[in-house]
Point group: C2
Chain length 142, copies 2
């Protein structure tokens, strides 16, 4: 399984916001500097996260972004789904007039099941876990 660049940026941005005071708004510019990406790119990610309610945005002169709830209540699965859409199984093949529907259905079912397993895996890790210094394997394993 691979995490796209955008997903990584989203997770790292969330970790960055988690470091700040909970009542302070952080500007997209600062997030971009921290991630080493242009402000526009950071903005895209932050906007997606805000649309899904993971962070709050403040308009105006002293605006910015902050977490909408404690970091340990936000899972990586939620972050990834905010920027990549729902984690779900898909079997890419035009279900043409062939009689292969049975095999395709079986493979589709396999994809669905794998997606559920995958999402559960990503749900075990929270944004707060990204801040811990100790190896996180135990958390994922538990």
């Amino acid at each position: 399984m691979k995490l796209s660049k955008t997903s990584m940026q989203a997770a790292l941005a969330m970790a960055f916001l988690a470091e700040q005071a909970s009542d302070q708004f952080i500007q997209a510019r600062q997030v971009g500097v921290h991630l080493g990406v242009p402000t526009d790119s950071a903005l895209k990610v932050l906007q997606a996260l805000a649309r899904h309610g993971l962070i709050q945005s403040q308009l105006g002169r002293s605006g910015g972004y902050r977490l909408s709830r404690p970091a340990d209540l936000i899972t990586i699965a939620q972050v990834v789904e905010a920027v990549r859409g729902p984690i779900q199984g898909r079997a890419h093949l035009s279900t043409s007039d062939n009689k292969l529907t049975r095999e395709i259905d079986i493979l589709q079912g396999l994809c669905d099941k794998a997606a559920i397993t995958l999402r559960a895996e990503f749900d075990r890790l929270t944004v707060a876990d990204l801040r811990r210094t100790a190896p996180v394997s135990a958390c994922v394993n538990s």
Copy 2:
């Protein structure tokens, strides 16, 4: 999780070869017709499967392809890895000079773990299972 078009074609081609007599060579043309794709496309898939030893190829006038071992000894994971490369976790982000290495490592570990889980899921289903008429959920669940 999603299965690419190529992966689906590979799995369906394997299921098709599993239907044939075990000592009979099937031409790429026939596989293509069965899948509803051009012969060239089927050829690409079959060549990849042959390179990884999942099927045997016979050159010459009456050549073709056949399974190299019983269908119940070939898992979907092996088929997918033959055409898509190994199933492994990757965190797409340039590990620049930032001090984000800890967070990136944690996310990379999560990807690796997810990939292992995913591969195990795909290893539970064999090519022979694609031929069964009953729903295969039980197999995947067990």
